[in-house]
């Protein structure tokens, strides 16, 4: 009986430690996301209704930066846009209201939550590994570039349906 109690206690401690670790990682990821520290560059002209972009995210752990890439990509398309390169035109953000994120804070909190709706509109476009040239160590942290495809048409429609963005023909 005593032995069983000891084993159970050990498991309890292990589970607690594991929980703290995972929570810590998510917290760090969320912190990076809240700061929205990322850069976007075009990779090519996306297929109909989509953008093909590379999102550079920063984190001390590459895996965290990769996880945040999708979220950063959708955030960037809505709020930042990106400048063009040769053969690929730049794109303006979906909103030109600089205060939209604050005004609709509750909506975007849920939208960008872990497993949130943003995931519907973005896909990682690689063979399962970040390319070597997209995994850079800068000081003590990593700068990770992930190529993603963002379904801009679907994203715009969803935000319009939710009343976050005005429709393209609503202003006339």
């Amino acid at each position: 009986m005593k032995k069983t109690a000891k084993v159970l206690s050990l498991f309890l401690i292990l589970f607690t430690c594991f929980g703290v670790t995972v929570a810590g990682q998510n917290k760090k990821a969320d912190k990076d996301t809240r700061n929205w520290v990322y850069e976007i560059e075009p990779v090519g002209v996306g297929t109909q209704g989509s953008y093909l972009i590379k999102v550079w995210s920063y984190s001390k752990k590459p895996i965290v930066a990769i996880e945040q890439a999708k979220k950063n990509a959708v955030h960037g398309i809505i709020f930042k846009g990106f400048t063009g390169i040769q053969g690929v035109p730049g794109q303006r953000p979906l909103t030109n209201n600089p205060n939209l994120e604050v005004e609709q804070a509750e909506f975007f909190k849920n939208f960008f939550a872990e497993g949130g709706k943003y995931m519907k509109f973005v896909n990682i476009t690689n063979d399962g590994s970040v390319a070597a040239e997209d995994r850079l160590k800068i000081g003590k942290e990593f700068k990770i570039g992930v190529v993603v495809s963002v379904n801009v048409a679907g994203l715009r429609k969803d935000l319009e349906d939710a009343g976050i963005l005005r429709g393209l023909n609503s202003g006339f």
Partner: protein
């Protein structure tokens, strides 16, 4: 054998080049000077290039021989190669009889060199990424100019050896055991510069297609050449020979067949040497998964078992300048057949880490080929003093031929001197040699040929096990017995026996080049005989028998323990 090589700096940008874009190879030749060279060059012309390159064969006349002492030699070679740049670029763009260009070959080669990641990104894009890759490949066009500097038969080789040896005091003619040829060669590796500005000029001055005909541009093409740069120069000597004894050859070749074997040997040596020196020839890839370490390279890149790669972390400073920091060393363990156009789902090849720290997915891998030669220097201890001493050896990697990782064929030797030792009563069936009251001095050696396999059981591969077995010869040579000096050619006092060593090395890879190894083992030594082929008989063993004389006439066993430094080349 490589005589010399040169290297010129490449890639001065601050970014690390992480992509392997298949270079294309155009082989050109210096005009043959005689019939034998004609055979070699004819065979060479039709040789396929290594599969990690694209064969960019053109129809172009051979270079006229240039005297070695001609001060203008380099300029003349460059002029010749520059002339060849015209048909090279014409082939890239599929120039037809009307002078029109097309994208067929560029697109085809672009598709073949594209990686899984390229294929996946291309599917998500409206622009042709693959065609863009194809255009980048033109800037990876290399012209290899092969020059045979000397081609001579083995008879000529022996004549030259004898001529050299005649200057020595004790001249004896060399044994003329082999027949065949030796060939000395040089390879000049030139790169055609087809960067953005050259490409832009090409399009504006020469581009013609069926929709955009232009007679002036077609005419201008006749004088078009493109900038070339000597990137590396290597040379060496190869031999294609066989024993004159028919019984020693599995298949007796004709002299012409021996000549025709030379081009493949030259090409293998040249590609290996240039592959170590030309940045574009080094395989580059991303670590696809870690543990087991895998990467998307394979037969298309001519990967071979135990080929060495370094794994790097790319570090970037605040100015955006990048540098590589080595994190580990891996060797090819299994090879995937990827000789097809990438679709996005090709399987990776698997690598075994053999040195360094933890490797992560996304790190950068680059080939750093070694010669597969390991030198061992150390000390060998044994229960039998005659088996121990200063230890020296060499292992040659044979895994590439066996297609199994870790296998080496080696030679191991231990040497020791012997001073004032009692050997007991030893003789042969016909005569007495040493009595138990006589002190003996001389030397011993044990030399064995062995087969071993380096095996790794840890993820980082810093530690390895190397089981080995072999067969060898253990020998005693006496200089003095009972106060009497023994002549060095006295065969009665030179004894030897066969032995079979078995051991297991436990090694620690300190760096990619140096390893420390401890190798405990056992041996079985068989009865010894004199160099006169007389069996030795021990009639009274010495009281203290540290040198194995007590069991000289029969099979005996013992233990060994070797500690050595292994230096990998």
């Amino acid at each position: 054998m490589v005589l010399f090589s040169g290297l010129y700096a490449q890639n001065p940008t601050g970014k690390v080049n992480t992509k392997y874009l298949r270079p294309s190879i155009t082989m050109l030749f210096s005009q043959p000077k005689d019939a034998d060279e004609e055979v070699v060059i004819s065979k060479f012309r039709n040789l396929e290039v290594n599969s990690k390159f694209d064969n960019h064969r053109i129809d172009y006349p051979d270079m006229k021989p240039i005297e070695p002492l001609n001060l203008q030699k380099n300029a003349l070679i460059e002029k010749y190669v520059r002339g060849a740049s015209n048909p090279v670029i014409a082939k890239w763009w599929g120039r037809d009889a009307n002078g029109s260009f097309n994208y067929s070959l560029v697109a085809e080669r672009g598709s073949y060199t594209a990686t899984d990641a390229d294929a996946i990104i291309s599917r998500g894009s409206n622009t042709s990424r693959i065609e863009m890759i194809g255009e980048q490949l033109i800037d990876k066009s290399y012209i290899l100019l092969y020059e045979i500097t000397d081609l001579y038969s083995m008879e000529e080789y022996y004549d030259r050896q004898d001529a050299l040896n005649r200057k020595l005091k004790n001249y004896t003619p060399v044994k003329r055991t082999d027949e065949g040829y030796n060939c000395d060669y040089k390879v000049y590796a030139y790169k055609i510069n087809f960067n953005d500005s050259v490409a832009s000029e090409f399009y504006s001055r020469y581009w013609v297609d069926p929709k955009n005909p232009d007679k002036q541009k077609v005419a201008a093409w006749a004088d078009a050449t493109f900038p070339v740069k000597l990137i590396a120069l290597t040379g060496g000597s190869v031999r294609s020979a066989q024993s004159k004894e028919k019984s020693l050859n599995t298949k007796k070749k004709t002299m012409r067949e021996l000549l025709e074997d030379i081009p493949a040997n030259i090409q293998n040596n040249a590609v290996f040497e240039l592959g170590r020196r030309i940045e574009d020839f080094k395989l580059k890839v991303t670590v696809f998964k870690a543990y087991p370490v895998s990467a998307k390279l394979g037969t298309k890149e001519d990967l071979y078992i135990d080929q060495r790669f370094y794994v790097y972390e790319i570090e970037q400073d605040k100015s955006g300048n990048q540098k590589t920091n080595r994190k580990g060393v891996v060797r090819v363990k299994t090879i995937n057949d990827n000789k097809q156009v990438a679709t996005g789902s090709s399987l990776p090849s698997v690598f075994q880490q053999v040195d360094g720290g933890r490797i992560y997915q996304g790190m950068f891998m680059e080939s750093k080929e070694d010669y597969g030669l390991i030198l061992n220097i150390g000390k060998n201890g044994s229960s039998n003093n005659a088996m121990e001493g200063f230890n020296i050896g060499a292992d040659f990697r044979i895994s590439r031929f066996l297609k199994k990782p870790g296998w080496h064929l080696g030679i191991d030797a231990s040497l020791r001197s012997m001073k004032d030792v009692y050997a007991g009563d030893i003789g042969t069936s016909t005569r007495y040699l040493i009595s138990s009251s006589e002190l003996c001095s001389g030397s011993t050696y044990a030399i064995a040929v062995n087969l071993s396999k380096e095996s790794y059981f840890t993820r980082k591969g810093n530690v390895y096990l190397r089981p080995q077995f072999g067969v060898g010869l253990q020998s005693y040579s006496f200089k003095e017995v009972g106060g009497y000096e023994i002549a060095s050619d006295n065969k009665d006092y030179s004894w030897s026996s066969l032995y079979v060593p078995i051991g297991i090395g436990i090694g620690w890879n300190i760096t990619p080049m140096f390893s420390l190894e401890m190798k405990p083992g056992v041996f079985a030594r068989f009865a010894a005989s004199t160099d006169n082929k007389e069996k030795l008989i021990q009639s009274a063993a010495p009281v203290i028998d540290n040198w194995g004389f007590g069991s000289i006439g029969k099979m005996n066993v013992g233990t060994t323990n070797t500690i050595c430094l292994r230096i990998r080349f």
